[in-house]
C-alpha cells in the first residue's frame, strides 16, 4: 500500500503532487495504490485530470461526451452596449430624452442624464426576424445561427474586476482563467502548439490584462501563450548574434549534459520532464512561426476578412488576428481567446462609450464586424464549426440613459447580452429578457457563472466537477454558483 493513498484528507485529494506521483509511479508504484486513490476520489465526486509531466498538454478525456472540442472566445473589452447592438428596445426610442422613472441618480461615473434612444437603426434579420442594429451589418447577417443570452449579469460595475469575473469567475485578481481551466482539463490535440493561445488586440492589452489568460493557482503549464499576427511569442528564437549553428550545438550540448545528469539520478521524473520541455520548446520554435505566417492565405480570404485593407490598419490587424485564430483552431489548439478592444482610453481604444458613444462605436464596429463575421463564415465553410464553439462576450452592458452632460452611456452590470454559435449551440435562439428600456434583466436572469458553466458543458466538462484545491477549498471557474443555460443548447 502506498503511503500516499492512506493519507488522503477530505479536501487534500489531488494535492498530492499528482504529476510527481504518476511520473514516479513509472518506476514502481503498484496499480493497487493507484486504483485505490482514484476510487477514493470518485467517492468524493471529484474527477481530476491526470497530467503526465513530460506531456502536460496531452489530450485528456472530458467528463462526458462533448459537443465541442475547441473554443474561440471573441472578447470585446470595455463593455459593448447591448442597446446599440443586439437588444432591441422600441420603448427606449419612444422615451428618448425623458428621465428614467425610479432610475439611479448616480451611476458608475457620476450623475445620470436622461434616457437616450439606440444610436443605430435596427432591422429584422434572417428567418428569425431578429432585430439587430446597423452597427454590425456583417455579423447581423448571421444571427439565424447565433444563440443570444440577453439577461446576463455581472457582480461589479468596474471594468478590471468585471473582466476578471468574466474570465475567471471571481472579481479579485489571481484566479485561473477559463482557458487555463480548459487546457488543464482537456490538454490539446496538437503537441507542437500551446493548448491555450490568447491573441491581443492590435491596439493594446485589455483592462484586466494577464488575469484574462493567467493560470492563477493552476500549474504554470496552463497559462495562455500570448501572440498575434503581428506580435510573436516572446523568446521564441534566440537574439540576433546567435547563429543557428551555435544555437544547435549549444542545445545538443545541453541535451547531453541533462542526459548524463539523469543517468546519475535515475528515476527522477522532474528531471525527465525538464528534458521533455526543451523538446516541446524546439517543436514550438518551428510550428509557431509557421502558423503565424499568413502569406499562404489566398487573396480572397484576406479580402473577405478585411485583412488587406490599407486604409484601416487596425481593422486589417484585427482581421489578421481572426485568420490566425482560425488557423490555430484548424491545427487543434484547444482554446483561443481573441481580443477586440484594448485598455481604458475614454472609449477611444475600446468599447467604453461614456462620452461620445456613437462616433466611437462607428470606429470600433468597423474594426470588429467584417473580420469577426468572416472568421465565423470561413470556419463554417471549412466545417470547423462542427467541433468548434464560438463565443462572443463582453464584461457588462451599458445604461439606457446618457450620462449627464455627455453623449454616452455608463456601466450597467444588471442586464447585458453575449452570444454563442457553432458546435452544440442551438441556432436562432434569443434567451432571457431585459425590461422594456434595457436597464435590467427581468426574466431568466443569468449571472455570468451560468454562461461559463454552459461553455464548459459544451466542452464535455461539468463545471461543478472541474476543481482545483487552493487555500482551503476546491476552487471552480464558477465559484459555488452556476446553472446550465439549457435553452441555448442544441
Amino acid at each position: 500500500m502506498n503511503y500516499l493513498s492512506e493519507h488522503l484528507s477530505p479536501g487534500g485529494r489531488h494535492l498530492l503532487d499528482r504529476r510527481n506521483f504518476l511520473s514516479n509511479s513509472a518506476t514502481a508504484l503498484s496499480s493497487i495504490a493507484l486504483t485505490s486513490l482514484l476510487s477514493r476520489e470518485n467517492l468524493l465526486g471529484v474527477q481530476h485530470p491526470i497530467i503526465d509531466p513530460t506531456r502536460p498538454y496531452a489530450p485528456r478525456p472530458p467528463h462526458f461526451a462533448p459537443k465541442a472540442k475547441n473554443v474561440v472566445v471573441i472578447f470585446c473589452a470595455g463593455a459593448v452596449s447591448q442597446l446599440e447592438t443586439w437588444d432591441y428596445k422600441p420603448e427606449l426610442i419612444k422615451q428618448d430624452g425623458k428621465p428614467l422613472k425610479g432610475g439611479p441618480a448616480v451611476t458608475f461615473q457620476g450623475p445620470a442624464g436622461n434616457l437616450a434612444r439606440p444610436q443605430y437603426e435596427f432591422l429584422p434579420r434572417g428567418e428569425t426576424g431578429k432585430m439587430v442594429s446597423e452597427m454590425i451589418p456583417h455579423l447581423a447577417k448571421q444571427t439565424d445561427d447565433f444563440a443570444f443570452i440577453h439577461s446576463l449579469t455581472s457582480k461589479t460595475n468596474t471594468h478590471g474586476p468585471a473582466e476578471n469575473f468574466l474570465s475567471t469567475g471571481f472579481v479579485q485578481d489571481g484566479f485561473p482563467s477559463m482557458g487555463g481551466w480548459v487546457s488543464y482539463a482537456l490538454g490539446t490535440e496538437n503537441q507542437n502548439l500551446p493548448a491555450f493561445v490568447s491573441i491581443p488586440d492590435p491596439r493594446g492589452v485589455p483592462q484586466a490584462s494577464v488575469n484574462n489568460w493567467g493560470p492563477g493557482f493552476l500549474p504554470a503549464e496552463f497559462q495562455g501563450t500570448t501572440f498575434s499576427a503581428s506580435k510573436p511569442v516572446r523568446h521564441l528564437s534566440p537574439p540576433a548574434g546567435i547563429t543557428p549553428g551555435k544555437d544547435h550545438a549549444t542545445r545538443s550540448l545541453l541535451q547531453r549534459m541533462n542526459a548524463r545528469h539523469l543517468e546519475q539520478n535515475p528515476g527522477d521524473g522532474k528531471l525527465a520532464a525538464r528534458i521533455a520541455s526543451y523538446e516541446l520548446a524546439a517543436r514550438m520554435q518551428l510550428s509557431v512561426p509557421e502558423i503565424g505566417d499568413l502569406s499562404s492565405e489566398p487573396a480572397h480570404i484576406l479580402k473577405s476578412y478585411g485583412a488587406d485593407d490599407p486604409s484601416n490598419p487596425t481593422k486589417a490587424g484585427f482581421a489578421k488576428n481572426c485568420i490566425l485564430a482560425r488557423r490555430l483552431i484548424e491545427r487543434g489548439v484547444r482554446f483561443v481567446q481573441l481580443f477586440n478592444g484594448a485598455y481604458a482610453s475614454g472609449g477611444k481604444l475600446n468599447w467604453d462609450g461614456h462620452s461620445k458613444l456613437k462616433e466611437q462605436y462607428d470606429v470600433h464596429a468597423e474594426i470588429l464586424d467584417q473580420p469577426a463575421a468572416a472568421m465565423i463564415e470561413d470556419m463554417r465553410q471549412r466545417g470547423l464549426l462542427e467541433d468548434t464553439l464560438v463565443v462572443w462576450c463582453t464584461e457588462f452592458g451599458r445604461m439606457p440613459m446618457f450620462q449627464k452632460g455627455a453623449r454616452g452611456r455608463d456601466h450597467n452590470p444588471d442586464g447585458f447580452t453575449c452570444w454563442m454559435t457553432g458546435a452544440g449551440v442551438k441556432p436562432g435562439v434569443s434567451h432571457g429578457v431585459t425590461d422594456e428600456l434595457g436597464r435590467k434583466a427581468i426574466q431568466d436572469i443569468h449571472p455570468l457563472y451560468d454562461f461559463n458553466a454552459t461553455i464548459l458543458h459544451l466542452l464535455g466538462l461539468d463545471h461543478e466537477n472541474l476543481t482545483y484545491y487552493h487555500n482551503g477549498i476546491n476552487r471552480r471557474l464558477t465559484n459555488v454558483e452556476g446553472h446550465l443555460i439549457r435553452e441555448v443548447l442544441a
Binding site: 487534500g12 510527481n20 460595475n157 516572446r234
Partner: protein, 895 residues
Amino acid sequence: MQLVSAAVDFKSEVRPIFEEHCYRCHGAKKQKSSLRLDVREAALEGGEYYKPNIAPGKAGESNLIEFVTGKHEEGRMPPKGEGLSSEEIATLTAWINEGAVWPEGIDEVQLEDRTDHWSFKPLKVFKTGRSLDSFIIAELREHGLTMSDEAGRVTWLRRVYFDLIGLPPAPETVDAFLSDTRDDAHARVVDDLLDSHRYGERWAQHWLDVVRYADTHGFEVNTPRPNAWPYRDYVIEAFNHDIPFDQFIREQLAGDRMGKDAATGFLVTAARLLPGQIGQDDASKRLARQDELGEIVINTSEAFLGLSVGCARCHNHKFDAITAKDYYSLQAFFSGVSYGDRPMRTTEGEENRQEVEKLAESIRGIDQSLAGLVPLARSGTMRPAVSAKLNVERFPPVTTRKVRFTIRKANQYEPCIDELEVFDTGGKNVALSTSGAVATASGSNVAVNRHELHFVNDGKFGNERSWMCSAGEGWVMIEFPHEQTIERIVWGRDRQGKYADRLALDYLIEVADEAGKWHLVADSSDRYKQEEGGPSALNGFSPEQADKAKVLLNKKTSSEARIRELEAKRLVFGGAFGKPEAVHLLNRGDAEQPLEEVAPAVLSAFGDISLAKDAPESERRAVLADWIASPDHPLTARVAINRIWQGHFGIGFVETSNDFGRAGAKPTHPELLDWLATEFIRSGWSIKEMHRLITLSETYRQSGLINADAQGKDADVRLLWRFPSRRLEAEALRDSILAVAGQLNLKTGGPGFDLFKSRGGLSGFPPVESFAGEGLRRMIYAHKIRMEPDSIFGAFDCPDAGQSVSRRRQSTTPIQALNLFNSQFVIDCAENLAKRVKFEAGEDLNACLRRAYKLSLAREPSDDEIADALPVVREHGLAALCRALMNSNEFLFIP
C-alpha cells in the same frame, strides 16, 4: 370517550416528505444555508439565517412552515417544481403542533463536532531527550523504510546555500569546507549563512508569497504603490535579526504601537480598487470597502492561523467550525483600518519631517522672489507668449472670494488646465481643495482618473490630473471658503511637458468683488502671440530676468528633489488608522443586507475574547495580536513551524500550509510537528534556531538519490527516506545566474528596480531586455507588479501577488525552456560568465572548462564532460558552454 386522530408519526409520515423534497439540498451531502433536515438537533435549530426552523408545538413560529407554504420573505421552498402538496403541508403543520416528536436514535447520521479536529487541540507534551531524527526514523520504520546515506559534503553545501541564502557557494567556499575537518564544520557553515544579509533576502520571499506582497495596487489600473517597499525591507530585516516569531506577529498587526510602523504593511498587502475605479454609487462603495476588509481577514487568518476564514464571508464555513458571525467579528478588529500611506514615526522619520518643512518654507520664499521677477499683467510691458508648461500672472494685491479663468480660444480641441494655483501675498496657494477651495466650471469633459474637474486644484500636475473643458470655450472658477488677498496666479496645460495641445491662447482672469461684479486682473492681450516668437519664456520670465531666475529655479529644483527623497523615506503603505466603522453581520455577505451589529471577537471555536463595540482602534489589533501570538494558541506555532519545514524540504508536514482546517491535508508527522512547535516556542520563537536544528539533522543531510524500493512505497518522499530535491524558485534562479556570472549587485533595501520599461496602460508592461546597475540586484528588490509576471522568470511559478501562495508549484513548461534558453538576459549572463572564466582561468581551454563547472556546479567536470564540451567551446566559444550550464538540470535543482 374522546375521538382523537392518531399522532403524526415522524418516521413513516414526516421523514418521507423531507426525503422527497428537501434532502437534495438540506441533507447529508449538501447543507444549503447551513440547514440540514436529516439530524434532529440541526433540523429544529435551523440554518444560518432563520431560526428556529421548527418550534415544537408552534407551527406558526416555525420557519419551515413559512418556507414550504411560500409565505417566507426568501420565497418558497423547494424553489423549483410543484412544491409540497397541501396534504403534505398539513401533515408537517400537525406534526409540529403536536410537539414535533422526533424519536431518539432514528437519525442515520449524527452531527459531527467540527471543533474535534487535530489542529484545534493543544500541542502534545513530550518527554525530554527526543530528537528530530528519531521521529522521522520511527515513521520510516513503520513503513519498512530507512534513511538514505549521508549526502556528499559538496551536495550538502550546495543544498544549504540554496536553501538558506538562495545563492550557490563560491569555489573558494567549497574548497575551504572540503578541507575543514573540524567536527562542527557543518554548524559553522550554517552560522555563517544565518549571519549573512543574504539570508533575510531569501527567506523573506517565502513570507511575501503568503501575504501576496506587491508594489502596485492591482486590478485594471495597477498603479504603483510607491511606499510599499518599507514593509518588504521590514520583513527582510525581521528575518535577519531573528525577531521572535510572536513579536513578528504583533508587529505586523499592531507595529504602530511598538515603534515598527513599516510592519503593518502586512495589513494592506492585497490588491485594491482606487477611488476612481469604484463606482460613484453608494452600493459600489460599500462593496469595495467590504472587499478591502475581507482581504485583511484573509491575510491574517491564512498567514498566522492556517484557516480560510475568508470562506465564511457569505455563509458559515463549509468544512470548519467558523461561522459567518466569526468572520464579521474578526473583521471588526480591523474596521478602523483603511488602505493608505502612513508616516513612519522613527527618529529618522521625525528628522526628515522637520527637514521637509524647512525646505517647503524655503521654496515658498523662492517662489515669492521669482514672482517679483515676472512682469505685471496689464502694466503696458509685453509678456512672453503663453506656454503649455507654465504661465505666471502677477497683478497688484486684490481681495476676493472668487477667481474665474475664462478661455475664449485654445490652440486645438477643448482646452485643458492641469492646475490652477492662486497665491496670496504670503506666497501660499489658497486655491487648493485641501484648504477648502471649491472648483466649478461651465462644463467638463470627464475621463475617470485623467480629466476631472476637481483635478484643477488638487495640487497635482500633469495631463493625468487635469481638468478639460466640455467645449472649445468655457470657464473654470475657484471659490475660497473666505476672502483672500491674492497677487499671483500660476497655471499650465501640462507641467510635465508632454502635451501642448488644448492650450488656452485667448483667456481672461477675473476676480469678483463683494457685490459679485467681475473685475479683470490679467488676460492674454499683453502676451506675445505664439507665432510672433517674442522673448523666450523661461517659465514666464522676461529674458533680462531669466538669468536671476535660473539661479533661484535651480535651488528650487534641488529642494524639491530632496523633499521627494525624504518623503519617500518617511511613508509606508501600512494602512491608515481611523475611527472604527460599525460592523454588521451581512446576509449572504451582501453589503446591502446588513443584519445585527457585531463586536470584535476571536473565532468562537477557540474562546470568547471580545471587545466592546466602541473599543479604540489600535487596542483592537493589539488584542487580536496577543490572542494569535500566544504560546497556548493551538494553531500559531504549528502553522509557523510547518512553513519553516516547507522552506527546507519544499513541502511541509501539512501540505496545505495555509489550511490547517478539516479540508486541508493531514500532517505526515503529527508528533514531530508538535515537538518542533514546542521547541520553537521554547527557543523564544527563534526561526534561526529552527534552521540550525533542521539543516544539521541527519534527515536533512541525507542523499537525494532515488532508490526504487523506497520509491515504490513512498513516491512523493513524504516520509523523507531521501532528501527531496527540487527546482530553484524564480528568484533564486535569477539571483544564482547573476551570481555565477559575477554580476550580482548586492545593494540592499530601498525602492525596487524595474523589470519593465514602462508601467502599465495601453502598452502594458514591456520588459527590460538587458539589465545593468540596479537591474542586477537580487530579485526580491524588483518593483513587483501585481499579476504581471517577469518576462523570463515569471514562468517559473513566480507568484503573481493576486491570491496568497502558500507553497510554490514546480511546473515544467516549454515557455520556461524558451525563456531560459533564448532570453537576452541569459545570453548576457552566459557571456559574462565566459569573460569571468577567462579572467580567472587564463587562456587554457581545459582550465576554463574546469572553472566554468566549478563556478556554476561547484565541482570539476569529468573527463567525459570535458571531451564532450571541448569541441563546442572551440567552435562556438565559452559562452555557448555557459549558456548550456545555466540551462542544465544540475544547475537548476537544489540537490
